[in-house]
Subunit: 474 residues, 2 copies
């Protein structure tokens, strides 16, 4: 990357799109905690890896676009890796990529009209950081001069899960013209596209100036402009979040930026990219991106393969062992509350399978045993008639609201960190290895005054253990 550009602190603002649900990677990825936040490879989540991809002089702090449910996961995961976002923009409801792309373009026009915007889905794999940053640098000049720059990935197989782009001649702006977009092809068509040498995968990454994108929407999708502009102008700022106004937002069409703008515009160019890229659109992609042995076997820790070939065996818990025996082309993903076993060729149908589970009201279709809250998260350990046990993790400095319950009592045992507990006006510090009892109707408040995580084992007992048995006092 040229040093001139690298020294411009506002050169490129990365926009991390992380509102997706990713049900094709069920059970690891669920509506309540989708794939971009999970540790698919190694310790970091895909979202964290995406955010760290844009550290460096040439990148401004990122804008994150997410939804209400994921906002605390976003702040927690960014804090873990020490990244402070420019803003976390909250979509009141999912509206595909066009409204979000327009919203961030209009927002950036106000904030920094000179900035380029790099829209990146936060669930992609791009392991070659230097090669990728070089590709971004290549795209900056044409983006400044008014192109919408895509990144075209050189295909290594006739993948049917991706869209394709037909590339033309190298333009005078140093990039390649995009002649047309092709939707996800069938297998025969994919073979032909790849064999032609002219068709590349559409990565979904976009680099553009805010003015270019705003103009493109005016030209090709003008019906989106008013609702998105209104959603922005009536947005509320709240604890570091910019919450778009739900009313106008609901009027914006549920449409992709490809369909709304890219397929209409004449100024679409592409930076060809020969590094590794995957959108991890299914367990077959995860298998393809995993380290496999010479039998094509990809394993996590605690997974064991005996006489298997071309399989992906994932145990997502260190307390759960997974054994595959004599399997071919099978994907197995084991979690303590949900297990998927699928023919690898059927990886794309996992989405429909999850929809089926949802239709028959299986909670695991969407929910995780771990539930995130502003102050941390909790996990269900066990329950029986009249009792329930949870493991509660409270972030340093965080506190639960002052509350009381009519029907249940709560026993808390502090097993890590220290707690400040207020009960009926009386405050006390509860250290590790101490416990406290909160009877029904007691007004109580739980805080973590320390700098380490506070972990509490909570045993709830009572005739009713419903979540809605709570009175909150502001």
């Amino acid at each position: 990357m040229e040093s001139q550009e690298s020294n411009d602190p506002a050169a490129v603002t990365p926009v991390l799109m992380c509102g997706g649900v990713g049900t094709r990677l069920w059970p690891l990825s669920r509506r309540s905690y989708p794939k971009q936040f999970t540790s698919l490879f190694g310790r970091e989540s895909l979202f964290q890896a995406s955010a760290r991809r844009f550290l460096g002089d040439c990148f401004a702090p990122p804008v994150v676009i997410t939804n209400t449910e994921f906002r605390f996961i976003v702040t927690e995961q960014l804090a873990e890796i020490g990244i402070k976002p420019a803003i976390i923009m909250i979509e009141p409801e999912a509206r595909n990529t066009a409204p979000a792309t327009l919203a961030v373009s209009l927002f950036m026009q106000e904030l920094n009209p000179d900035a380029l915007i790099l829209v990146v889905p936060a669930d992609h794999v791009l392991p070659d950081m230097e090669m990728f940053q070089a590709a971004v640098a290549t795209g900056m000049k044409p983006a400044r001069s008014g192109d919408i720059v895509t990144f075209a990935v050189c295909p290594d197989r006739p993948e049917t899960g991706y869209g394709y782009m037909e590339l033309g001649e190298i333009s005078d702006r140093g990039v390649v013209a995009v002649k047309r977009f092709v939707e996800k092809p069938d297998p025969a068509e994919a073979e032909a596209l790849v064999a032609s040498g002219r068709f590349f995968w559409n990565s979904g990454l976009l680099l553009f100036s805010s003015q270019t994108m705003a103009d493109a929407f005016e030209a090709h999708a003008s019906r989106l402009v008013k609702p998105v502009r209104d959603a922005l102008s009536h947005a509320t700022q709240d604890m570091g979040f910019l919450r778009l106004a739900p009313g106008p937002w609901s009027q914006a069409g549920n449409i992709s930026v490809d369909y709304a703008v890219l397929e209409q515009s004449k100024r679409i160019t592409a930076v060809p990219y020969t590094g590794t890229w995957s959108d991890l659109g299914g367990w077959d992609s995860v298998w393809a991106e995993s380290m496999t042995d010479d039998q094509g076997v990809a394993l996590t820790d605690h997974a064991y393969a005996i006489d298997c070939q071309d399989v992906l065996l994932r145990s997502e818990s260190r307390h759960q062992v997974l054994v595959g025996l004599g399997l071919r082309d099978i994907i197995a993903v084991a979690m303590p509350d949900a297990v998927l076993v699928a023919d690898k060729a059927r990886a794309q149908d996992v989405k429909a399978a999850v929809q089926h589970l949802k239709d028959i009201q299986i909670s695991q279709a969407e929910e995780f045993p771990r539930e995130h809250r502003p102050w941390g998260y909790f996990e269900h350990l066990t329950r029986g008639p009249g009792f329930e046990v949870r493991r509660i993790t409270i972030n340093p400095g965080a506190a639960l609201t002052l509350q009381s319950h009519s029907h249940r009592a709560e026993h808390w045992v502090v097993v890590a960190g220290g707690a400040r507990v207020t009960a009926d006006g009386h405050g006390q510090i509860v250290e590790r290895n101490q416990s406290v009892f909160i009877p029904p109707d007691c007004r109580h408040r739980l805080e973590n005054p320390g700098t380490d995580r506070l972990i509490i084992i909570e045993v709830r007992t009572g005739a009713s253990l419903e979540e809605d048995d709570v009175v909150r006092y502001v």
Copy 2:
């Protein structure tokens, strides 16, 4: 069954052999809680179903042969179904079927020399109770007159997992002569055996008089007689258990009764049996005995199959969902701490897979999350640095020993039933929804004085949580 025999209360003493380990049904069946005690089909365990098969006038209370580890599971499961055994005989170590068969024969000679003995492995499936009792009735006359009566199952497929018997002419005692035994055959041989129409499966069930069996051992396996007789004469009686003497028992050969006696004796006859029978020797057998739909799909509750064929999908926990997608001839068994996914044709190799897990010291190879004790059982819920949470279930009237721990404290919350807790000499009743704290070095004792199960959530905290940090006071 003839009424004359039915009215003899000591006519047949069933002997339930339940010391086996059954690793081929891992992960449901493990060394610490093998298949005969699990609910493979419906609510009852195989052991319970076996014990209930012999209720009726013609059967005496059962003798149970098991080992030290399973003795409390046996008493608990018999109590659940209201059966009081004649005796629970404990093998100090597993020595295959010959020493156990001889031991029970010698024991019964003393107790009731007229009784017939019916040896039944407690992990078999015999759903047609009336048909089976009729077969036993058919065998009683020849057994009384000195035959060792086997039960020959009419084969419905060329199974390679079973031994076969060649049957001859109907004898004058109303049963069929056994001409020879054939070990588990290879597939081609099995086809030929079944096609001949003369070969039946050897079920492993035996009916005989104690005198006949004692004589047969004297004649064909006399080296076993002294050690087994000594193990019996030095046996200790303890809480309703007859514990064979370990020293002499260890001198008895590790040999099957088939090999030691049956293949040598001239007086082996068979009752042909056309009802359903399975020894559930692998997950393929379980699949074969399960209710399947017209695609050959067998499912437990909480298991879902989408476009699957000839599969067995078992979820062994109501908190865990299992989804199979596009599978053919696959077995998947999911538990919260262990999952098996296997090619159905490889079902017999599960045993070797478990041995592999054991070799690399994976605890799930042998251990269960639920650990049984004389007073009940406990389950591990969660653990972390310096803490561990367990759910402890204590049977009515049961008590733990008086004990103390040097390094750990214990927080107990009673969530069902009521406890009597003695701490440093001071006794108190702890009701449901109350808790008690046991600091390090406190001499404590926990009892269930009530008639319902006592369930306690225990949170252990401390620098060391090892099981061996315990001093017991008698």
